[in-house]
Symmetry: C2
Subunit: 498 residues, 2 copies
């Protein structure tokens, strides 16, 4: 790993951290962030040293408080800054004297409101001192394994009824890294993924990107063993050339899914007023993403759906999708979305159709089941029918990915079909995604059980089609670049570990 | 109401019903459907007479069983048929002798598997006798008010843990009618809407449409006071001319949202193998929907999202959308989706911008809040900021619809902002939709509370944009046809009642 990239380690696993602006006032960000570190340290999750910095306090939460960074004994790797913007330059000079490795500036009030001079001052100091900076105006870092937690948004809120409910949840451990320009959207992403029981490796919020930007962070994540998939939310990319160079390296090892806001003229105008940066034509971004093998999601839901699919299933070796369903209508909806995404849903091969015909003769599939793709096991569906049909599609080399629509409403279908299908799927390296429609108990349980067994499940046929599309598009990209086999090998090795 | 249409009343509120194929065997459809009627009758929900028909039983669930329809005493309005296909023609002859008004043929095994002769035989009998028929191969009717319930799919299922969970929920009372060619999709729709706490007026499944089809059912629903919005799932429309004529009448009074499967060539092929009907070019459907003012949803989620918006909010009087947000990124995402849908998100008028500037001067809005559309109340958002901003956008006559993005993660924002916004909204006849992102407790609660107060809430900025799009497109259609004012008047009258 290049030393400049290695240095970014200190954002995620610092041996020591100082929180400048730590305070006893409970609703202040400086309190929440300091407390996060303290609690994680006491639980043995965060293993570094923790120092509060505040000239007006002697101790906070039992920790000796220091008036300035320079008074802290020993080496200091990470500084988290939560003080008013105008004080930040002075803090940065202290950080430079203290020779800290990295700093996260949570504080806002810089270029995002036109205060470029103040931001430039910080950049000058830190560049000279070799300090790498995240922010300003960001939500910092969350690492599910090391206990680094800079999220200062209230973890719970109190309703008018007096009930306390989760407001900003901490994510589960998992394979997905979230790298986001918008802190607010990033936190929403954590909320979404946690609620859907999808795990996260690292969360990093860029804010104004006065120093560390997307390109460098992608580069860092390339080497991060915990991260298998990168979800990237961007409004503008400044260092385009560097970004392309790095992204091309990363995507050969790990998929990147991008949500680029400001697609339309009005959207770009809104983005400009939000970040102070011109976003550039959307077509340029399309070209950059295509060139670098970054999968572009068209909206928030596709962003998360694709991330989940790529974290759980291997990419496809081609673009032909086989569909199994127990409901005609939803089967057609899946076909439509596949085709609209540029995938093919070809009529099954004669040999596959013959296999289905044989099942019918043996009474193992309803006589009236259509079987040209989709194969419709009909409302008479049983667990065995899904099992047989799945096996047949996995065996067909002309089918590169499978969508299984298992609407649970059919009378004879029992929950165990999920286990049977997962068992079949585990024998093959071909991607499969599932769908059950509904928002009451059985549907929620069905999707949860599929997820649990490693088959990503979705709540609409179109969502499932978009998920398989991500697996196909990424597979074709890897194939074109001659690295599909290596990726699949490493993907399967990782699956076995977990 | 035309007498032919009036006759369809017997599907939804029959004075008497016979279930042919009623049985004591608990897992049989004939048992479940008969029991549904019996239980609803015992609870006083279903007010008609109920008769089981089965030559092999004396009584079922305490009700005298009749060997044939002809043996039932008195008048008979509705017959539900759940016997093997080959017996159905004979049953239909009995129904004709008995002079029943309408029949629902649940049984499959007709034209959908190529058995056209059998289906034609039934049509000949019923046409002659003047009996109107739903099906065959359908899931029949569910009416949330009269207790007509032909859903035979298991209401609950037992998991391998032994737990009993809801599998096919019965919907809440509400304003949305579901008319669907696919029974399986229709049931999924009930599951989805029930889980999301969206109410339903009537559910009707067409199946093979040997007699009653979409056109006639839309015509019937035009006069149905309980139905305010129609969600229509179709794979093919046979009586195109009649459909256009009726739809044009209906959409001037009630919005119709259509999900037409088989959009692509492969999808149409799948549809053909599923229903036995050729679907025709998708462009024709696009033209028909445009001509009739039917709103076409591009996927399942948009279908439900649009239905919910139209049931809860009045249509817009123009296409310019104002956006309030407490998070920059999601604000841009909403702008993008609005523009991509053909809406405009114009820079606010000078007078509106001045109002925001005044709030800033008064310290009621952060100084750095951008306010050119979206207005960004920022991460410092309070309930009052949302209240003020909402009021300003409602007052601006150049804004025709509002999207409110209230991400709950911001520290100072409390739940009561929802009530404040709803109170402001209640003074105006301009549509507003809300969004909060997240899948854990506070996000779910926030969306639920908005819904409860009549502001439809969505889980992504794009979903919210698609919802306001439905309200704009329908409003523009009504306006073009000179019936916007009448519609809004009747919409508001209905709102007051509920």
């Amino acid at each position: 790993m290049e030393p400049a990239i290695k240095q970014l380690d200190a954002f995620f696993k610092p041996k020591s951290v100082a929180v400048v602006g730590a305070t006893k006032r409970i609703n202040k960000a400086g309190h929440v962030i300091f407390k996060n570190f303290v609690e994680n340290k006491r639980r043995g999750v965060f293993e570094g040293e923790v120092f509060p910095v505040n000239p007006n306090e002697d101790s906070i939460l039992g920790f000796t408080c220091y008036p300035t960074l320079t008074k802290i004994p020993g080496k200091l790797e990470l500084v988290v800054i939560v003080v008013p913007a105008n004080i930040v330059p002075k803090i940065m000079e202290d950080a430079a004297s203290k020779k800290v490795k990295v700093a996260v500036i949570i504080s806002s009030g810089f270029s995002e409101i036109g205060n470029h001079t103040l931001e430039n001052k910080i950049v000058a100091t830190t560049k000279k001192a070799g300090i790498r900076v995240l922010g300003p105006n960001c939500l910092g870092v969350y690492d599910t394994r090391t206990g680094v937690d800079m999220l200062f948004l209230p973890e719970t809120k109190i309703l008018t009824t007096g009930d306390e409910v989760v407001a900003t949840p901490r994510p589960l451990k998992g394979d997905i890294a979230i790298a986001t320009q918008s802190g607010a959207f990033g936190v929403s992403a954590l909320d979404y993924l946690t609620g859907r029981q999808i795990g996260v490796s690292k969360f990093v919020s860029f804010g104004n990107k006065c120093d560390v930007d997307e390109a460098e962070m992608l580069h860092y994540l390339l080497y991060d063993d915990e991260t298998k998939v990168i979800l990237l939310y961007v409004e503008d990319i400044k260092s385009g050339r560097e970004f392309i160079k790095v992204a091309q390296r990363v995507t050969k090892k790990k998929p990147i899914v991008a949500l680029k806001a400001g697609r339309t003229e009005a959207g770009a105008r809104a983005a400009a007023s939000h970040t102070g940066a011109m976003a550039g034509s959307d077509k340029i971004y399309d070209a950059v993403f295509a060139q670098t093998g970054i999968l572009r999601a068209k909206d928030m839901e596709e962003f998360f759906d694709a991330g989940k699919a790529l974290a759980m299933q291997p990419p496809a070796n081609g673009d032909n999708v086989g569909i199994i369903t127990d409901a005609g209508g939803p089967g057609i909806m899946a076909v439509d979305e596949c085709e609209l995404k540029g995938l093919t849903v070809k009529r099954f091969s004669e040999s596959t159709i013959q296999k289905f015909e044989r099942l019918k003769e043996e009474g193992k599939l309803p006589k009236f089941a259509t079987n040209s793709n989709p194969v419709d096991v009909t409302g008479s569906a049983t667990s065995e029918m899904f099992e047989y049909a799945t096996e047949i599609l996995f065996q067909d080399p002309e089918i590169h990915g499978i969508i299984l629509l298992g609407l649970h409403h059919t009378p004879a279908l029992q929950e165990d079909y999920i286990d049977k299908v997962a068992k079949v799927a585990s024998k093959y390296n071909k991607p499969i995604v599932a769908c059950d429609i509904g928002e009451t108990e059985m549907a929620l349980h069905t999707r949860f059980r599929f997820d649990k067994l490693g088959i990503p499940a979705y709540s609409s046929p179109e969502d499932a089609a978009r998920a398989i599309n991500a697996l196909v598009k990424y597979g074709l990209y890897l194939k074109k670049n001659g690295c599909l086999q290596d990726y699949v090998k490493s993907f399967l090795k990782n699956k076995q570990k977990t």
